[in-house]
């Protein structure tokens, strides 16, 4: 009886929820209040102040970037502070950097800035502190950025620098959730001057940031990240060309044009690279964080601490899963890197082959651009980069690289085909050699919508993959019309197809839908890297042991532990001997405590220029 009543209550609850569900705004309901229809031509009115290039250049001259660096990294040596300063969107030394002689550099020169402002009609009346124009309007500009203490610090200094040039900055510190929201702040170009950071990559990309058709507006559904509204045809063409060609020198030349135009127009003021700080107990050898190489564990097999058979690395965030396909958090990728390292490294923003025989470049024959004939109904990548079923009237790139309209008659297009061969001797930690079947399994799972993967961009643009039988690797064919600036780097990872699971099944036979919850994938993956994961105590630590089958021999230190700690206790644990290494994802910067400990000889610190760079975007148009 009681059970019946309980079921009755539950039933009523369900019915009530259904009723409530039905009462929800109907799926085809019209909005209750329509205030104004969207203006499709929005953001075509030049900003009354900032559309004048002289004002933007003046602001660049009035910006003392070194002082900004010193405000946030006061403990860094001066040489390093100087090294952090940026003149364009790439740091010096990057393979795509244009060189000082090919860009316009704005050294700190308030006099030059003042002269440009005078020329632009913004003059400083006697006794006034803020410039004004002939109409009596004062030079006030809103400056928006996040509430992060780091930005509050340098923004306050920058405000004073602008004030010294007679520019009145109204500083607004807003929550990051609004500033970076999907439908607020930057995404809606709701700023005049706006500061945030981009993450510089070894491949500069830049199409979504600097090309004319990537300016977000109501007309294009707010697509793109060119929040400045900067449309310079030469720069736009150059950045697209840089990303459409596979020839390295052509890429370099196009990025040179982009940087020249960017620094001439000043749609954004690049400021400085953020630092990445690392700290380790004194005596640790083999640990060498390098700019451009995101995964600082790239050489973990060489790490050695005299008198210790275990090295302890502190993580302030625990990996959620070691299934790399669904978990993209940096800490998870690092924890996985111990057992499944990357096939390449990107030290100093360049590429180095580690586990592959060579990069698959056009120059060395590893990749080829085949001429293929396509006809109506074929799947290709169109001129916009979208995967389409070819129909008359569509724009595609022909074999010569020209954008043409498909008339319905067969047409020749480019098809990129790359072959990746791995070095000999790579062996899984259970003693089974790496095989092409392991790549095949990786590709199969990555392209299965049931796997939980977030993006299928690569899969959708893949024409086919042939797994090699005479070597360990594969030959990847892209859809006709697709080009990838990183085409020469490996695409697919590896999973141990041979692995027998606890329930007796073989991994290769397990449906993709189960992978995210499979302990052998999410918690106890096996690999072929320097270490093997032997235990994961949730909330506490991941314990690794040397992989006896590592292709480069035994790691210098037989045991490795990733200890889960809190940011509040990180430095105390390092100084107290509980952890040996703290890395950039834990340390916000070089603290006085760490500097003192280094001076006392108990620890060693490293500060390198990170990929993240601060800049001030300038909105060139208003709604």
């Amino acid at each position: 009886m009681k059970q019946n009543r309980f079921m009755l209550v539950l039933g009523l609850l369900v019915v009530a929820s259904m009723v409530l569900a039905a009462c929800q705004p109907g799926p085809v309901a019209t909005p209750e209040v329509i205030i104004e229809t969207v203006e499709r031509e929005a953001y075509t009115t030049p900003h009354p102040i900032l559309s004048d290039v002289r004002v933007r250049q003046a602001m660049a001259y009035c910006t003392n970037k070194l002082e900004l660096v010193q405000s946030v990294y006061p403990l860094a040596p001066e040489a390093q502070q100087q090294e952090l300063v940026l003149n364009t969107m790439m740091r010096g030394g990057h393979w795509a950097y244009a060189g000082d002689e090919n860009i316009t550099i704005y050294p700190f020169d308030p006099a030059a800035g003042a002269a440009l402002l005078d020329e632009a009609g913004w003059t400083l009346a006697e006794g006034a502190t803020v410039r004004s124009n002939a109409d009596g309007e004062t030079l006030n500009i809103k400056f928006t950025t996040t509430t992060a203490a780091f930005r509050q610090t340098w923004a306050a200094v920058w405000e004073q620098q602008m004030e010294a040039c007679g520019i009145d900055i109204l500083r607004l510190h807003v929550p990051a959730s609004w500033w970076f929201g999907d439908t607020t702040g930057l995404a809606r170009r709701d700023f005049e001057l706006g500061a945030f950071a981009w993450v510089g990559q070894v491949d500069p990309g830049g199409v979504t940031l600097y090309s004319c058709d990537q300016i977000p507006s109501p007309a294009n559904g707010w697509e793109g990240q060119n929040y400045m509204g900067w449309c310079n045809e030469a720069a736009s063409t150059a950045v697209k060309n840089a990303n459409n060609t596979l020839i390295l020198q052509e890429r370099i030349d196009n990025y040179k044009i982009l940087q020249a135009e960017f620094t001439k127009d000043v749609p954004s003021i690049p400021l400085f690279n953020r630092t990445e700080t690392f700290a380790a107990v004194a005596g640790l050898t083999g640990f060498e964080p390098i700019s451009g190489q995101e995964y600082y564990l790239y050489d973990v097999g060489k790490w050695e601490l005299p008198g210790q058979d275990t090295i302890v690395l502190g993580f302030t965030q625990e990996p959620a899963s070691l299934f790399g396909l669904v978990e993209d958090a940096f800490v998870a990728q690092l924890a996985l890197y111990m057992v499944l390292p990357g096939a390449i490294t990107t030290k100093n923003y360049d590429f180095q082959a580690v586990y592959i025989q060579d990069f698959a470049t056009i120059e060395n024959g590893g990749s080829v651009l085949n001429e293929v004939e396509v006809k109506a109904g074929d799947t290709v990548v169109d001129a916009n980069g979208d995967v389409v079923t070819l129909e008359a009237g569509m724009s595609v790139k022909n074999f010569a690289g020209e954008i043409v309209e498909f008339t319905g008659d067969p047409i020749k297009m480019q098809q990129l085909v790359s072959t990746f061969k791995y070095i000999d001797g790579i062996t899984w930690e259970d003693g089974v050699p790496l095989s092409s079947a392991d790549f095949a399994l990786s590709q199969k799972i990555a392209c299965d919508p049931e796997s939980g993967a977030t993006s299928f961009y690569v899969c959708d643009r893949t024409a086919g993959v042939v797994f090699l039988t005479d070597a360990v690797g594969y030959t990847h064919s892209w859809l006709p019309g697709y080009t990838d600036p990183l085409y020469f780097t490996p695409i697919w990872g590896t999973y141990p197809a041979h692995r027998v699971l606890a329930d007796g099944r073989v991994l290769a036979d397990v449906p993709a839908v189960e992978w995210a919850t499979l302990p052998e994938i999410s918690e106890q993956p096996i690999g072929w890297g320097p270490y093997k994961l032997v235990e994961w105590v949730k909330g506490e630590k991941l314990v690794y042991e040397a992989n006896p089958y590592w292709v480069f021999g035994a790691p210098k230190t037989p045991n490795f532990v990733i200890q889960i700690i809190t940011a509040e206790s990180a430095e105390a644990l390092l100084l107290g001997g509980e952890v040996d290494v703290l890395a950039s994802e834990t340390l916000a910067g070089l603290s006085q405590t760490l500097a003192d400990a280094e001076a006392a000889g108990t620890i060693k610190t490293w500060s390198i220029a990170g990929g993240t760079w601060e800049h001030i975007d300038i909105s060139l148009f208003i709604r």
Partner: protein, 399 residues
């Protein structure tokens, strides 16, 4: 008594149900979650999030369903599809959500663009839920799967991994703080305005006024970092155990993971929490005892010529402890919820940290599970308090 208990249990169920609705509604309305920032994820040459990708993720985490439907699936695991009676489907066409909402831009009265959902391009019907994974419901002990902290794996795994450490820490702290705080409070009350009373009252004020994070850092500095650097015996600065053996002067080599290692790691966090809570308990007992000591029956007992010990322990203490007993049961939810700040300062892998991480990472299934369990424990504690009242105070009868 039985009627009272039945009534209270029914009330408890209602309170738990309301708290479940409240926690679910609040966290459902909170920003963040698996979709947050996805559209702002920088596109690279090999990674791009499409509208279909977002729709798929919405479906995976039930975010395409209306809040009431999500709530019942979270609470009791239904609906899982249309009602089937004798092989015939009912309510299959009932709209339960939207997989792909239509969003449009509008200018609001402040001249800002605003995105609003104006319709749905792909409706979710009840029949679409057939075969979709769902928990059995939190009422049946299935807290669902974690969105972030243990991606796609059971929330209960996370709780089970943290709970023993929290029980250890908070259990010991509660035990020690009561064992120390109660006698101190009694003594202070009996010796009111003595030097001892002034001294401990001052200490209690300091203890209750000192922020745990500051006190914790001071303790780490004083008992760990500085003595270690000076070559003196020291305590581990944090964690629940070491990962390798270490040597402490006078104590010798401590084996990682051994009982002595764990005890040493417990000393600092338990001490910080105990010292802070001793202040609370001693102040509480002191005021309670002072009130009792002023009662006529205590004066009568003394007038009868009873020894002071008997007066205090037999006549005053039993009555003085009545309010104490009613408060002590509320350590029950605390045993589960942990101590957020102390666990953070000492890298203690307990429930407090888990709760903080869940909120920080918008892992709402985890946060809701913790909320729910704390709510249940709180109402249980309330019931226990009422029952204990009748035990410690014979004047009270529950009806």
């Amino acid at each position: 008594m039985v009627a009272y208990l039945v009534r209270r249990v029914l009330q408890m169920i209602l309170v738990v149900f309301i708290s479940a609705i409240a926690s679910f509604a609040l966290l459902s309305l909170a920003p963040g979650g698996p979709l947050a920032g996805l559209r702002q994820t920088p596109a690279t040459s090999r990674f791009y999030i499409s509208a279909e990708d977002i729709a798929r993720i919405r479906t995976k985490y039930d975010l395409d369903l209306t809040i009431p439907v999500r709530f019942t699936r979270w609470l009791i695991g239904v609906p899982r599809g249309p009602l089937v009676i004798n092989g015939k489907e009912y309510f299959g066409d009932l709209v339960v959500g939207c997989r792909q909402p239509i969003e449009e831009e509008f200018l609001n009265d402040r001249g800002k663009y605003e995105t609003r959902v104006t319709g749905c391009s792909e409706i979710v019907y009840l029949r679409d839920l057939t075969g979709r994974s769902a928990s059995r419901g939190i009422l049946l002990g299935d807290f669902g799967v974690s969105w972030r902290l243990l991606r796609d794996r059971p929330v209960s795994d996370l709780i089970v991994s943290r709970l023993p450490k929290t029980l250890q820490l908070i259990g010991l702290e509660t035990l020690f703080s009561i064992l120390i705080g109660v006698p101190l409070g009694i003594y202070s009350a009996v010796k009111q305005y003595s030097k001892f009373d002034y001294f401990f009252t001052s200490l209690a004020f300091m203890g209750s006024a000192m922020p745990t994070f500051f006190f914790g850092i001071l303790m780490i500095l004083a008992f760990s970092i500085l003595p270690r650097n000076a070559g003196l015996p020291y305590l581990p600065p944090g964690l629940s155990e070491s990962v390798r053996d270490y040597t402490i002067p006078l104590l010798g080599t401590i084996t990682a993971g051994s009982a002595s290692d764990r005890v040493l790691h417990l000393i600092l966090p338990v001490s910080v929490l105990t010292l802070v809570n001793v202040a609370f308990w001693s102040r509480y007992i002191r005021s309670s005892m002072l009130e009792v000591l002023r009662q006529d029956y205590v004066r009568t007992a003394r007038a009868k010529g009873l020894r002071e010990n008997v007066v205090i322990m037999k006549h005053a203490l039993r009555n003085g402890l009545i309010p104490f007993v009613t408060i002590v049961v509320f350590t029950l939810p605390g045993l589960f919820s942990g101590a957020i700040i102390t666990e953070s300062i000492f890298s203690w892998p307990g429930m407090g940290r888990l709760y903080l991480l869940a909120l920080g990472d918008s892992d709402y299934p985890v946060a809701m599970a913790v909320f729910f369990i704390i709510a249940v424990l709180t109402v249980i504690a309330t019931l226990l308090r009422d029952i204990l009242y009748t035990v410690v105070d014979p004047r009270i009868r529950l009806k």
